[in-house]
């Protein structure tokens, strides 16, 4: 039973967990949310741009999108964050005088998620039946308007579950920005837990961090399942038999 007691003490020291909670709520949670939401928004905009470039009729645009996506998706997130954070940090410091690595953390997360979200959007847009583009163009819409008004909205709808999954990944990946050495007020859930664990010599603050992450990610996972199910079955609507099929046209209306 010694081992069990030892494990319980290492991971479920309620006192240690209690001590880290205020800081988790006041600093860690808001920072994680800001990192994830801001880079989620920038990443979505960047992803849409990459997707449109990826299906563009302009070969140069397609190539740029392809190369960007291949590189950013092919690198380990930890490497991207370090390279961008340490590589561009000094440039930003020179330009703005700010020493905070926070903007660089957001930039790195945005650039990475942009690559993934771009692929999600592209696959969604390309999965829309080509008859949709044809019908829109036949009405007299230009290629650009057809894409914007009819094709892209349908493509996005289809990939909403994948998009939310990407936001979940982003929440988790935001933990990696601790490597950039954030200021005390900028620390997110993981680093708050890590700091507290280092100070107390006990692993329970990590458990507290885990609970905070799960409180964010599990509802999102179920949200994905919900949209997925809803898109599969559609909104319920009564379907009537085609009672008027045989009696149409102006003659039949009189």
């Amino acid at each position: 039973m010694d081992i069990l007691n030892q494990l319980a003490e290492s991971f479920f020291d309620w006192e240690a967990i209690g001590e880290v909670l205020p800081k988790m709520f006041a600093v860690g949670l808001p920072n994680t949310i800001v990192l994830a939401v801001v880079s989620g928004i920038i990443g979505t905009a960047l992803g849409m741009l990459l997707a449109l470039m990826g299906i563009s009729r302009n070969a140069a645009a397609r190539w740029i999108a392809r190369i960007y996506t291949d590189i950013l998706r092919g690198l380990p997130p930890v490497l991207t964050i370090l390279v961008i954070g340490f590589g561009f940090g000094p440039v930003i410091r020179e330009l703005t005088g700010s020493t905070s690595p926070y903007p660089m953390a957001i930039a790195a997360l945005s650039l990475m998620s942009g690559a993934y979200i771009g692929e999600i959007f592209r696959s969604g847009i390309q999965s829309v039946d080509k008859g949709q583009l044809e019908a829109t163009r036949a009405l007299g819409f230009s290629y650009g308007s057809s894409m914007r008004l009819v094709v892209v909205p349908q493509g996005i709808r289809r990939v909403l579950p994948a998009l939310v999954n990407q936001f979940i990944a982003l929440i988790k990946e935001s933990s990696l920005v601790f490597m950039l050495g954030l200021l005390a007020t900028e620390r997110e859930i993981f680093q708050i837990g890590k700091d507290a664990a280092a100070n107390s010599g006990n692993l329970s603050p990590y458990v507290a961090a885990a609970i905070f992450y799960l409180a964010l990610t599990i509802p999102l996972t179920h949200f994905v399942n919900w949209i997925d199910a809803r898109m599969r079955s559609g909104r319920p609507e009564k379907k009537e038999p085609d009672e008027a099929a045989a009696v149409v046209g102006k003659g039949a209306q009189a």
Partner: protein, 245 residues
Amino acid sequence: MSEFASGTLTAKNIHLSFGSNHVLRGIDLHVEKGTTASVIGPSGSGKSTLLRVMNRLIEPDQGDILLDGRSVLKDNPDELRRRIGMVFQQFNLFPHKTVAENISLALRKLRGMSKEQAREEALAQLDLVGLKHKADSRPANLSGGQQQRVAIARALAMKPEVMFFDEATSALDPELVKGVLALMTDLAQGGMTMVVVTHEMGFSRNVSDIVTFMDAGVVVESGPPDQLFTNPQTERLQGFLSDVL
């Protein structure tokens, strides 16, 4: 008496290749204002492609397309397509919009109507095809026949001078074909200029003013339906008719 501002459509010596595949090999087609031309022929003969070339969804390699005697190849193709309505085999309604929105989208964005105006016009068009009560449904909740009638209303709302039908009844269950054909017959009798690619030989024979038989990218025979169906001149048309009738 015509209810429509119909136009005369002429295609002259249309050629089109996809790579080494010579799909259209010098097609001529003339559809007089207010008349219906049906185009029949085996699958892969280039009928549907011809429609897409005539409204410039696909640009021809060679030849000319005239609307009311004037070449339209130099015009903005988007503007040309506003003058030619098209109905597809697979309906191609916008599944994320309601039935009324399917019709009002182009009215608002291309005709500059206000939201209210466009909806009113959409409802009026739906009334003509007997589906006003479905205005706020989604296309997925309509039968195939109803969807195709909405697609026809969507095209008519743009007040086209010519209507194209690309095998408009081929994807329908047999019992729903009749309603769509009845609507097409109404349009033809109302004076709409129509080009109808079809496998419905009854419609072709009874409704069209001229029938064109295409095979392997050429017009093999063309003429009034009585002549073509009762007295086909070529072996190819004789063979085709004996296969389908």
